[in-house]
């Protein structure tokens, strides 16, 4: 276990023992992650803020029944996602609605990004960005968790409420959608480079 991960786990233990400062430390450590994930799931900032508030209040009031967490970030992301979907559920409906029903995930790929500007293939870049934009909400979510949050498939599956196998499959399908384009773009790029040299 690296040092970075060790600290939140220690805070988690202390907060379970009734240490309010440890809860505050956890909150400050994870607020940016929770906020970003929350507003990507749902664009009403106030609702996301309410859900984060509820989440930490519940952590505190239920601390006697909460167990030690292997990974506080995972625990918090799962809880936040559930909280947001509960809030979005129509009033009076007790059962859990499959999240696809109103699932959305805001991830806007941009040509303005410094990462993309490093690539010299203008048109191909544009096509790839367009293809990425067309990915489903679930595919965007898995890309976000995998490449931005750098989570393992096991954890991604736990957050999205699917099996690990389904998570792999979802990711593979997203890549398949891009594969054709990528191969074209690479060969076109080579042609471009060859012309440059000549």
């Amino acid at each position: 276990m690296n040092e970075l991960a060790a600290k939140p786990i220690t805070w988690w233990k202390s907060f379970l023992g009734g240490d309010k400062d440890a809860l505050s430390a956890l909150y400050r450590y994870y607020f940016p992650v929770l906020y970003e994930y929350g507003v990507r799931l749902h664009d009403q900032e106030e609702l996301v803020k309410d859900c984060i508030q509820d989440l930490f209040v519940k952590l505190w009031t239920n601390r006697s029944t909460i167990q030690e967490a292997r990974d506080p970030r995972l625990y918090l992301l799962i809880a936040l996602r559930g909280g947001i979907y509960n809030k979005l559920r129509p009033a009076g409906v007790r059962r859990v609605i499959p999240y696809e029903a109103h699932h959305d995930f805001r991830l806007t790929f941009s040509a303005e990004s410094a990462y993309v500007k490093k690539e010299a293939a203008g048109l191909r870049s544009k096509q790839l960005l367009q293809a990425l934009e067309k990915l489903s909400a679930r595919q965007k979510e898995i890309i976000y968790l995998r490449f931005y949050e750098e989570m393992e498939y096991e954890d991604i599956a736990a957050i999205m409420g699917i099996t690990v196998k389904a998570a792999y499959k979802l990711y593979a399908r997203a890549l398949d959608a891009l594969r054709g384009l990528l191969n074209i773009s690479m060969s076109a790029l080579l042609v471009l480079l060859a012309q440059h040299k000549g």
């Binding site: 505050s24 607020f31 906020y35 209040v57 029903a101 790929f109 890549l175 773009s185």
Partner: protein, 342 residues
């Protein structure tokens, strides 16, 4: 780790390469720059992965306005302090308390059993390309299509509503418990929850399906009431079909096609001016194939006829003739590659 053996997908999975693209760690940066200098044989695969990673990471990060973090924490701290300030009365542990605790424990165990008996649910799943028949406690029969699941209580109380939860597609033959002309009692009701819809059944045979954001109910006999919430429901008559579009929250009723709606029960698909993309949806959703079209205009073509679904070879033979295309099957990942015919 031998990066020379890596292909594009291996590179995409590599945490060190991700760190290189993000440019966070100078040691990692040095390593990869040196590696590129060696002109490895798989440099093309490396470049493909880099190209993709840079685009995957191109979305702007989102952060809260300054002060938001503090504002939310203040609210949390206030709620917590209020909760902690609520006094809790101390109870001394006397003998009678212990006795009471044992009584409570017994009552609790009884209640737990009761809750278990009537709220424990069972889920039945029919895998891709299979069908499963479920006989419920009241002798109603539910036939599940491939890639569909049904959840229901292990036991129904005598006078409570019969409720089931469906994911996918199924054909229902519900036992009619209503024998009088009095108003409907709870024990006579049968509710199917599917997607965002509730289907209230009044003793009937019908087909329900929930795929890709559209919930379809086809009624063969009897009557059902369909609604997205309790307030407004549509009453259906035999032969009618209702579609609910989840995204648009739109409920539409139109004449249905009895033969087409329940054809899957006989391993068939009945096509009346059906778009190829709708056929592809069924092949993907119910049978677990992945369909790749090299010519996407095929998707919009409309065809008529009957497709036998039981045997893959027959299905593909007939489909390729109907569409005048070649279909290759990749068994390893159940992909069907559809190419224009010669």
């Amino acid at each position: 780790m031998d990066y020379h053996q890596f292909d594009k997908n291996d590179f995409l999975e590599d945490a060190s390469l991700l760190a290189y693209v993000k440019g966070e760690d100078p040691v990692v940066m040095r390593f990869w720059e040196d590696w590129i200098q060696q002109q490895p044989p798989n440099i093309q695969e490396f470049r493909k992965a880099m190209f993709l990673l840079r685009h995957l990471l191109s979305a702007e990060r989102v952060s809260a306005r300054p002060g938001t973090e503090q504002e939310v924490w203040d609210r949390i701290a206030q709620s917590i302090d209020t909760a902690d300030a609520t006094p809790v009365r101390r109870i001394g542990l006397r003998r009678w308390v212990a006795a009471a605790a044992i009584c409570l424990l017994l009552i609790g165990a009884g209640a737990a059993y009761y809750v278990y008996r009537y709220t424990a649910t069972q889920t039945v799943y029919a895998a891709y390309g299979t069908k499963k028949q479920v006989v419920l406690e009241d002798a109603s029969v539910v036939t599940l299509n491939g890639n569909s699941s049904l959840r229901y209580a292990r036991h129904w109380r005598k006078n409570s509503v019969r409720e089931v939860w469906l994911d996918g597609e199924a054909y229902f033959e519900v036992q009619h418990l209503k024998k009088d002309n009095l108003p409907l009692k709870a024990g006579e009701r049968f509710l199917v929850h599917i997607g965002q819809l509730d289907v209230e059944v009044l003793g009937t045979t019908f087909n329900v399906k929930d795929r890709r954001g559209i919930t379809t109910v086809f009624l063969k006999d009897g009557a059902v009431k369909v609604g997205a919430n309790k307030a407004n429901g549509l009453v259906m008559k035999p032969g009618e079909e209702t579609e609910y579009h989840q995204r648009e929250r739109l409920l539409i009723k139109h004449p249905g096609d009895a033969e087409a709606a329940a054809a899957w029960m006989d391993n068939k698909m009945v096509l009346h001016n059906t778009a190829v993309k709708d056929i592809i949806q069924v092949l993907e959703d119910t049978y677990g194939y992945k369909v790749v079209l090299t010519d996407t205009t095929v998707a919009d073509r409309k065809i008529n006829g009957v497709l036998p679904l039981k045997n893959t070879e027959t299905l593909l033979y007939i489909l390729s003739n109907m569409l005048d295309v070649e279909i290759d099957v990749h068994q390893t990942d159940s992909t069907l590659l559809v190419r224009p015919g010669k």
